[in-house]
Structure formats: C-alpha cells, structure tokens
Amino acid sequence: MSNQMPHHIMNLVSTALSQNKLSIISGMLESLAKAVNAYGCILWQVVPGSKLDPVDPSGYLFVLAEWFPNKKTDPLHDLPLEDSITGAAVLSGKLINIHNYHEDTYKGQKPYTKDPFIEETGIRSFCSVPLKFLDGRHGALNLYRTELVPFSPQEEEQIKQLASLVPALYKAIRDRVNFTVIRNINKILNQAERKASKEKEPPSKEQVKKDIQRICDLVTSTFQCIETSIFLEDRLTRPGVYELMATTWSDFIVKDVYTKSEKDGITGWILTHSTAVTIFDLAHYERDKELIQKDYPGLSWDDNLDIKNAVRRVRGLEEHEALPPLSFMGVPITMGKEVLGAIRCSVAKEGPYYFSDLAKEILRLVAALISRYWRNWIGQCEKQEDIRSWEALLKSVREMNRFVHTELTKESPNEHRIFTKTLEVTSEVIRGAEIIDVRLPREGELYFAATHGAYWNEGNRQAIEKRRHHTFSLDEKSAGSLVFKTGRVHIMSDVSKDEYYKGHFDGIKRMIVAPIRVADRKFGVLDIRGTGEVDFPPHAEAVAEFLGQQLGLFQYLANTVGKLRETQTDLTKKIAEQTLLEEQQTQIFVDLKHQIYSPINLASARLQMFKREFPDAAASATMLKIRGLFGKTRRIAMNLALIENLAREKPIEVDLVRLRTEELINMLLGSALNSQLMMRSKFQVEFEIDRPTFDVLETHEVSVDKNLLEHAIMNLMDNAFKYSYPKHTVDISGGSSKAWFYISIKNVGIPISERDAKQCVERGFRSADARKVTGEGSGIGLWIVDHIMKAHQGMLQIIPRSKQTDVRLFFPLLRK
C-alpha cells in the first residue's frame, strides 16, 4: 500500500480548506460527489429535539448543505426520521445503498419520494452514510446518481472513508469562517476607533450606523442569511428604547424600535431576559410553540409580517415550492449586567440552514465586539456632553471669578452684586433653572438676599414685594432650613410628592437646594427650582454644590478683604509699637495681598487648563490642583480673619463640639493632600497617617471648634510640606496621656533649634534657614495656631529632634 494520501481525499481536504466562506461546504460536497462519480450530494443533520430511538423515533432531518450541478430547484429540505431511508441510515448507524430509487425498498420502506426535486433531477440510485458531527449531533451524507449504476461495494468503502472525514472538515470550515468573521469585525471596529481617536469629537451617529451596517453585512455573508439586524439603546437621546441601527433586510423590517418587554416579540424577549435565543424553524413556530416556550418561558411571536411569504418573495419561490428551515438566532448585546441591545439573524439563504450552537456562540462574540464599540462611543458622547457642560460652567465661573476679584478690590465689596452674578451664572449653567435665589439667615429665619428669574417679577408691585420679603423660619421643615442645618445638598426631583411642598407651590416640579458654606461655616443656601417638563441635567447637583461653595468662599473673602484695610491700620500700629521697620510692615501686607490673590488667579487659570485637558488623565490632576488652590485661598482668608481679631486683641471664640475619629482623619487627609498638591512633584514629599493612633477619640471625649482645628491643621501641614527635604515623608499620628489628647505632625527637613522652637510662635518670626526657602508668607501661621490652641485651653508644642521636627497640638481630655 502506498503511504501517500489517496488523490480523492487530498482533493477533498484541500477544497474544504481553500476558502473562509460557508459556501465552501458545498464545494466540499462537490469534490466528494465527483470523487465517487455521483451526480449530487446532500449533507443531512438531525433537527434538535428529535428522538433517535430505533423503535420509536420522532423528528426530522434537515439539509445542512447540498451540491448539485445545474440545480433548477432546491432539494427537499426535511425528511422524517421514521419514514425515510436516510432516517433509517441514521437510526441504524449503517450505510444503506439504494440501487433503484423507484423500485428498491428497505425494510419494507420505499425511499422518500414526495419532492419534485427527485423527478426533476431524475435520480435513480443513492447511498446514505450515517455521520456523527463533532458537536455530537447525528446526520447523514447522501450521494445520488441519475444513471441506474448503483454504488459498488468498493465505492461503498470509498464513500465510508470520505464520509468519515466530513465531520472534522465541516468543523474546520466553520471554525475558520467564525475566526475570519471575528477578525474582520475587529478590523472594522479598530479602524473606526483609530479614525475616531484622531478627531476631537466622537463620530456622528450616522457614521456609527455605517460601521454597524458593515458588521451586519459581514455577519449576513458569514451565516448566509437574509437578515441580520442590530438594535441598540442610545441612552443619551432615546433612553429605554432599542432602535434599529442597521439591517440587511430593510424591506421586511418595519419595526425600528424595541423595548424590554416580553410582548415585544422575540427581540423584546431577548432584551428583557438578556438571554440568547435560537429557533429552528420560524415557519413551524405555532407547531413547536410549546417546545420553544419550555426553553424560553414567556416568549411569544406573532407572524404579523407573514415571514414565509416574505422569504418566498426574496428567494423567488412559488407557493407550492418547499421552504428550507427559517432559522432564527438572536443574542443580547451586553456590558456586564447592562443590556445595550441585541443582534439577530434569520433565514439562511443556503445550507447550512440551521443556526447551530456554534453559530450562536460566534454571534455572542460579535455582540461583545459591538458592545465594546458602542459603549466606547456612548462614553465619548457623554464625555463630550460633559465637556460642553463643564465648558459652560468654567466660562461662567471664570467670569464670576473676575467679577468677584474686581469687587473685592473695591473699597467696600458689595455682596449683593456677587450674589446676583452667581444667580445669573446658575441660570446659564443649569438647564431648566428658572426660579433661583440666595437665602441668608437672620434671627432664626431665612430671607431672600438675592433673586433671579421671571417669577420674581410677576404680578403687581405689591405681590412682588410680598414675595421677595417672605421669610422662612429655620424651624420649618422646608428644604432651605434642612440644607442650612445639615450643610448638605438636597434634591427633590418631584416636588408634588413632598408632604411639605405639596399644594404650596403649584407649577414647581423640581428643586435643588445647596448650602453656601466654607468648611463648617454656613452662610446660607442657594435655591434652584424648575417648572418645565425636562429634568435638570445630571451634573446639576454637582454644579449647584460647587456654586454654593464658590459663593461661600466669595462671601468669606468679601467679609475678610473688606476688613483688611482696618486690620492693616491696626496691625501697622501694633508693628510700629514693636519697632519693626516701616518697610517690613509694608512687605507683610504686600505678601498678604499676594497670598490672597495668587490662588484665586491661579485657580481660575487652572480651570482653563482643565478645559484644555479634559477628558485626558491630566484633567483630574488639574482638578485636584484647583481644589488645592481653593483650599489655600480658604486658609489665607481665615488667617486674615484671625489676624483681624487678634490685632484688635479680641479673643478667638470657639464653638466646641465633640471630635470624632473619622472627622479628624478626614481633616488631616484633606489638608495633607492639599498641601502635597501645592508642591512640585519632583520633591516627592509623601505623607502617612497612623489611623489606629486616633482611635482614642472613640473612648475619650475631646471638644474642638472644627473650623478652627481644621485651620490649625492646614497651617501646620503647609509648614511640614514646605520645609521638608525631598523624598521624605510627613508622619501624622495621634496620642494621649492622662489629661491630653494630641495630634502630631512630624517632618524631616530644615532643622529648628531649641531657641527658635520657642520663638517661632511669635508673630513674624522665621528662622534663618526658613527664610531661604520661602517666597511668600509672613511668619504668622504658627502665631495663629498658638492662639487657636490657647482658645481651646490646649497648647502648641514644637519639638526639635535633629533633622526632624515634631509639631503637636494638645487638647484637654474631658472624661473617660
């Protein structure tokens, strides 16, 4: 025997592997037929759910693929298992050779001759070989001859040999096709994404639809089906609706949107249950309904569009001509648990007519690729939308900052003008904000300090006056008093459902109330209301909170800067008393101005950078720096306020409340982060907070003025970072003794002598080395911290330890 592979087998294998299309299955059958001089060939497969019991079989065989020369009509598409020779071959597992189609019988059965195809082609003899596919399904390979020349025993052996290769080759073809389709879809989407990455804006929806249409076309040609349709939810413009993005059968598809509903056909079921569906033959849906609903409970389908006739029209078949199985498969397009859409394929034009489990798995992969692409696009659109909103906000905030900046440089800053400007900005940046006001507290009530919107000017003069002069008791259950007390934003998306507001404010649909505050210092509330049908945008809450904070900061600065001149006079007097040089006095005030204006300017400038960088990773770093700058402004503003009091020898008033561990850790963390953000990153000064050392606060009571404590911590943290050597860590910890609780901030950096440690709580003192490394500041930070500690009946200790400095804040422990 020769070791060489027989020619007919080589031919079969090379044909089967010559192309990446399913149509090559027909090519393989052609090669097979020609190898044994057969006229044609059909590859059959058992319909899923059939019973292969040789005694009591049920079910069908269907055509997986076929080849006939000059085929005028399709062969029959299904055969009953129990009433056909091919079925008998499958059930017996043996080759059956029919010598004379019209005369032979097998176990008393005549070959199945109900199909006009047999007459038209003039088939005389055939041979049926049972097969088992690699996925476990059963089937048969039939070879037909038109001459009355039956297959000889040698030919039977040759057929068996060739047939034994078919399952593996069939699988190989499918795998190659599947691999190719995934690769090509990946290519399409990568191309689209590469192109999009070069553009500033995400591609238009029309462009995205074109890309998805290309996927549709590719899937259609891969599975040789008539229809592939893709439905996706555009949550930005049509949330809750899955719209048709692309289809290859636009003549037939009349429904361009689906919803998550079992009543919305098979696609609706897929969307509702996020589960894939395959149906063998839609033409027999009514017949197989029970079986189908067993697999897919609740699924219902009305053939409103008469699919059989539609397929006939597409394929040019007469009514009497048999239809192949009208197979269907659909899978959800998901991202995690979220259903983004669905992709479905129906009705194969050529064999294989049935969408196998393997095909379904491939469609799942396609869905995964679409999901990634769609999610990216939606994400880009959302970012774009965000950018637009932020741009509008930044523009307005910059304008507002400039306005406030100018206002603050005036002899007496006018807070009402600042409020009015903020309300204008609010109406510009929050879509649907129609009735806006600023409310400030006065003698247990909130009053309208500024208003904006047409509502405030409606009606006669008396009505307007009455409306504007209305006040709200802080004891009422209004959103304003709630926000003022809690310091947290309050949102009411449906005012009609609120007990307090129901019936009182006709026409008002939604509201957001944001606190106007700086740290724990509350100034009032910003109230925003809408009457229209459209909701506030998603970022409205964040924007309202931000504007409230800005307003708080501005009011704080307005109060502080307004008093600066008086303070300057007082301080000048004090400093003169201490025989400081006139030039030094001036420098301190030059420095104060520098410290207060620099961060405002920079924060505003940084907002521009944020706009340029967004949505790059750099943008979040910039946003953090902006936060740090606002933190610095707040610290300086508070320093100024305290200087003012101390210069007038007014004691610092404290509002004591119990200090909790988490609050303190948050203060330390926020303050350390802000100080670190102000540093050049190349210095790599890190910080560590020893959390367990603060647990003492859970068992021991320490009372502090949180606002002042935070301020003291900010001043100490600023020093610790400013004077640290590069690549060192600021260590933050807590501790206690019998009578005291302390916070310790240790840094390794510019050393401090014992003598300097005592002196540095004096106003204006700076050690010789500290003077080398500062470009701003007036040496008042520790002086202020010392006063804050004294106001708490506590103390500030500066403990020099060679290169390390340990600064501690001691608070009295009240009780165990």
Binding site: D591, M609, I750, R771, K772, V773, G775
Partner: protein, 167 residues
C-alpha cells in the same frame, strides 16, 4: 523664540509654560524656579541670551535641602520680597543680557513697584529705573499684573520682542 520664566510657584509656571507653548509654537521655554538658580545660571544665559524674560518679583532663594546655599547679605537684608528686582539688576549688569526685554509678571500692584521703578509717562506697562529718564533705546523693562488670562502677557511679549527686532 527663547523665553525664560522665573517663578517659584510651580502651579503658576506650569500654566504659563503651557499657555506660551501653545501660542509660540516651536519655542524654547525654560523655567527657573529660585533666585539662587537664576544667579547661578546668569553666565549661561549670557552665552545664549533669551528673547525675553518673564520674571516674578517675590521669589524663594532656594528649596529645602541639607546643603542649602548661604544667603548673600543683600538677600538676607531685603528677603524674598524683592528677589525679582535683584535678578533684574544682575541682568542689567551683564553686557550680553542688559538689552533682553524683561516683564515683571506679578500679583503686586503698580504702587508696589514704584519704590524702585517709574512708569514711562503715557505707558501702562513700560518701566524705567527710578530717577532715570526713559530713552527710546533703553533696555525694555515692563510690568504686568498676573491674571487668569495669558493674552495680555502674550501681547506684551510680542510688543517687546518686536520693538527689539526693529532696533
């Protein structure tokens, strides 16, 4: 265009560099962040003079380290408040650098500069050394208050570098 920015505030300098880089494409922009660094590199700058210097006034001497350079007497005496003015004087003392235009870009107000400089009559930005009449061919010195907009600075840079080129 070769620009040197002297500013010890990293957030300010980063922003400024980004803005100037955007406008003056392909330009070389250097950042000097302490008075000590400016002094140390003055000869290097003289060898390759910049087209313009943007100078903050209040500058730190150096950064914390175990071997910090000693403070010269004048720095010890005046402190960081006038560091930019001292750098300007150093510049004016160098033949190769004295005509390089310099802008004091600071949050200080005009009044804060008037102790050392005079504003050229009729000009909002141009400065001259106190007690000295401004001459057309004089080295250009200017003042601009820091703001959140880079446009004014860019216009001033264009104005000063253009006038230099005409001369």
């Amino acid at each position: 265009m070769y620009i040197i920015i002297v500013d010890d505030d990293n957030l300010q300098a980063e922003w400024l560099m980004a803005m100037l880089k955007d406008f003056f494409q392909n330009s070389k922009i250097e950042w000097v962040d302490t008075e000590y660094e400016f002094r140390s590199r003055i000869d290097e700058f003289a060898e390759d003079p910049p087209d313009i210097i943007v100078m903050d006034v209040m500058l730190r001497w150096t950064y914390p380290s175990e071997d910090m350079p000693v403070l010269p007497d004048e720095v010890e005496k005046e402190g960081f408040y006038t560091a930019g003015f001292r750098c300007e004087e150093l510049l004016s003392g160098k033949e190769a650098l004295k005509n390089v235009p310099l802008i004091f870009y600071t949050v200080l107000e005009k009044a804060d500069l008037k102790k050392r400089y005079e504003f050229v009559p009729g000009s909002t930005n141009l400065l001259t050394k106190q007690g000295r009449a401004y001459l057309q061919k004089q080295k250009p010195r200017a003042y601009l208050r820091k703001s959140d907009e880079a446009n004014d600075l860019i216009n001033l840079i264009l104005k000063l570098t253009k006038s230099l080129a005409v001369r």
